[in-house]
Amino acid sequence: MPDFESIYQQYFRFVWNSARRLGIGIDSIEDVVQEVFIVIHHKLPTLENPDALRSWIYGIVRRTSSTHRRKHKTAPEPLSLLGAADQPGDRGPGPLAQAERRAQVELLSEILSRMKESKREVFMLVELEQWTVPEVASALNVPLNTAYSRLRLAREEFEVALARSERGGKRGGPV
């Protein structure tokens, strides 16, 4: 069983990004991440299957994020995948490359935010976090076929939205 410090080092980025993708805004993210790791610290001795550590942690992130939103009576924030690296004045390539990257991330956020939450969650875990579908099914506690079905529908929806956006861009609409 890994110790708490190792878990923190290994999973901090994952916890942070997952909470952001579950609709926790930048104002609350540090509080939520702290709460997640406090729960992990307290519950670690009760973890039955260390092989499923990542799924277990994701389950804690989901519940903590949901509790945080309920407690503060806030709806999930509109999904924004823009992070610190997208702020002006930060490190990175030249201004043009930064602007292009920012536009891509904004478009990705827009497409994902229009997706139904159940499909989006599967899509993000598979495509952004590169989980396997069985692992996602286990983490979300849904049948394997359901997870595959959601992923298929989410991919189709994503491609349609991307194509629509490109057509709009050519007509002078949003990129």
Binding site: F4, Y8, D31, I38, L82, A84, P88, S109, E127, L162
Partner: protein, 269 residues
């Protein structure tokens, strides 16, 4: 199942790391967790047992040490960001006074109680813990007298108290400050809190209280001030000063997990 197109894949690749936390956010969260959980320091500690965030000009996680170029689309945003940041900061400083609540004031008062006032000790009824307590805390009255009153928050390099009401503002201010090159204040806060929690974990409450008092003097409204109060209450309990510990805990927000943890450690539940 149909795979994603290359264009879709490119978009996803751009978003994969977009929300990544910075190294500073990683370190700050770890420091706060260590303080809240009373954990000893782990890897990344120096010979003095204290965490020193590594910063070098070539470090991709380093904060910018020089102003960014004002050329190009990004550069054009800089004046707006500076002006906006200054306006937000001014708003925070303006709002922080009327929003200061009685609980925070009471907490400050509780923290400032002299630990070993002989008359108070005489007047106070004896408790079971008194017999076991031989702790002599730091001379708070003396250090307060030596400590000039803070002129303003910027001078102190500290941030507003993270109450429920001011937290969003405080986060905005933190976001502004984390863009700046000076992280010395936070690093020192972390150092002091880490020293205190290590001492607490080793059963040395007096040493913990000295570090916490130093933190209170330097960062009365610091980012980790609630963590400080929680640790201070635990140290006082270890030292047998239960009344003072209870006064500090009473001044923390009732819903605070820090207060709950300290109360549990003190056996108040």
């Amino acid at each position: 199942m149909k795979e994603l197109s290359p264009k879709a894949r490119q978009l996803i690749d751009a978003g994969r790391t977009a929300t990544d936390p910075t190294q500073e956010e990683r370190e700050r969260t770890l420091a706060a967790l260590r303080a809240r959980l009373g954990l000893p320091l782990g890897d990344g500690t120096g010979s003095d047992g204290i965490h020193h965030p590594a910063r070098s000009p070539g470090d991709p996680e380093s904060l910018p040490s020089s102003p960014p170029s004002t050329m190009g689309p990004r550069g054009l945003m800089i004046p707006g960001v500076v002006i906006g940041g200054a306006a937000i900061l001014a708003g925070i400083l303006y709002l922080s006074h009327p929003l200061g609540n009685e609980r925070e004031a009471a907490s400050d008062q509780a923290e400032r109680l002299p630990p070993t006032d002989p008359s108070a000790q005489r007047d106070r009824p004896k408790t079971a813990q008194d017999g076991a307590a031989t702790f002599q805390g730091p001379d708070l009255q003396r250090v307060e007298a030596d400590d000039p009153a803070p002129q303003n928050e910027q001078e102190l390099g500290v941030q507003s108290e993270p109450t429920a009401t001011t937290r969003p503002l405080q986060r905005s201010k933190q976001a502004i400050e984390r863009k700046g090159p000076d992280t010395g204040g936070l690093a020192e806060e972390v150092t002091l809190l880490s020293r205190a929690t290590s001492a607490l974990a080793s059963g040395r409450p007096q040493e913990a209280l000295v570090a916490l008092e130093e933190h209170r003097r330097k960062f009365p409204q610091g980012v980790l001030s609630q963590e400080r109060r929680s640790a201070q209450a635990q140290a006082l309990c270890q030292a047998g000063q239960l009344d003072r510990a209870r006064a500090i805990l009473d001044a923390l927000p009732a819903s605070s997990p820090l207060a709950a943890r300290a109360a549990l450690a003190c056996g108040f539940h």
